[in-house]
Amino acid sequence: MSRPNKGKVFSAVLIKDLRIELRSRVLTNQVLPFAGLVMIMFAFALDNDDVLQRVAGGLIWLATLFSSLIIIQRSFAVESADHALDSLRVAGIDLAGVFFGKAIALAIKLIVLDFVLIVTAMLLYRVDLTGPGLVLLVTCVLCSATGLGFVGTLYGGLTAGAKGRETLLPLLLLPVVAPVLIAATRATEAAFASGGAQTSEGWAWVGLLAIFAAVFGVGGSLAFGPLIDE
């Protein structure tokens, strides 16, 4: 039997992860309500319409990061159960394909999450979005979600099956994704024109997000195999 190429492994893992999500509905039944709850809690804590409007971008991305921890752990919990990851490893398939498959599946879930969070912010925090702002925001979400997908898959794979992974993953992941939080927040503020920010100011930050995604896409594809290798 011939060894499947990277593209086939990628699409098989991507479709498998999305199919598991569609059947289990963990994203829609647990993660999205959690993220919505976090947005409401922020409003309780800050208790000021002007402040909420000003910091909406930051709150969206904080909620994204907290929720992404749950999504990443869920993504690898299904691999740890019944030693599915071991099966992938011993199957002799290209692990870079597995990495990209899981990362893009994760990114798609994060895009859905961000869409819901942005709509929630528009409704609850009364932020507005213009045409150019929408283009900037969509690009920002695509780049951020891709970068978070790569980093999340890398560190999720490392902590999969480890004792205390629930606490280890945030410790490893949150310092790494600080650039995503800063850049995505500034780009989102520019898209919402929060605090008088211009839409054009956001594109430089989107550039940083793209660099982050590229660096961890390349680094992750090289490191993922050796990291999960037993």
């Binding site: 890398l154 410790l171 490191a223």
Partner: protein, 248 residues
């Protein structure tokens, strides 16, 4: 290896004893000179004395993390995957984290006296804090279950990923905001603006801290070697016990 295990002073050698003695002498000079001989600063007053600890500990922390990355890369690239590189990387990171904690602590105390605040959201401070947390994560990864080989591979990759991460974090925070005082000693113009004795004490501090760093790393990596040997012997003993039971 057996000689090391059986020796009463297992992690010490003639070389480390000389190194330790030198470190004590230099550090004593730094303490006396820093607290007594050097004058107070025109602007910073007595708080400038914190710099004799703060600056060397920051330099040593960065040196430690660079050495961790180099040792990690050497482990990954080397055909023999010598565990000595892994132990050196781990020991260097542990000591580096300690020096980084000293840097953050002394920096906060200095900041309270000079800026009036324990903490400012300045790029260098913020990146340093991220670096500290990143290497705490690295040390947590080293403690994950698995064989010595697995530990070495995981932690070597983690150390190299940290090298990728730090410039990105630093760059993003630099654009975010900037306040930290510019480099006084390593400024690009080479125009050093310090009293001669103050500068000499600062360099003595760097030398003294470097000696302490290598003394700690040498002992720590030898302790790690002993732990690996004990673990390996424990496994061999357990296998021998099971075989003996099966034989009976």
């Amino acid at each position: 290896m057996s000689r090391l295990i059986n020796s009463k002073s297992a992690t010490g050698t003639q070389a480390t004893r000389v190194l330790g003695l030198l470190a004590i002498v230099v550090m004593l000079w730094v303490v006396v000179s820093g607290l007594v001989f050097t004058p107070q600063d025109v602007v910073q007053g007595e708080s400038v004395r914190i710099m004799y600890v703060h600056v060397p500990s920051a330099w040593i922390a960065y040196l430690a993390f660079i050495l961790t990355a180099v040792a990690s890369a050497s482990w990954l690239i080397g055909k023999k995957h010598s565990m000595g590189f892994d132990r050196f990387a781990g020991a260097s990171a542990e000591v580096g984290v300690m020096f980084m904690a000293i840097t953050l602590l002394t920096g906060s105390l200095w900041g309270r006296l000079t800026w009036g605040e324990f903490w400012q959201w300045d790029p260098r401070l913020t990146t340093t804090a991220f670096l500290f947390v990143t290497y705490l994560g690295y040390l947590a990864v080293r403690r994950l279950d698995g064989s010595a080989e697995q530990r070495a591979r995981r932690s070597a990759i983690m150390a190299l990923l940290a090298v990728l991460e730090i410039p990105l974090v630093h760059f993003s925070v630099v654009i975010w905001r900037s306040l930290h005082q510019g480099a006084t000693v390593l400024n690009p113009s080479g125009d050093v603006k310090l009293d001669d004795l103050m500068l000499f004490t600062l360099f003595s501090g760097v030398v003294g801290f470097t000696l302490v760093f290598f003394w700690l790393v040498l002992h720590r990596q030898r302790t790690m070697l002993l732990v690996d040997v004990v673990n390996s012997r424990g496994l061999d003993a357990a296998i021998a016990d099971r075989r003996a039971e099966a034989g009976n």
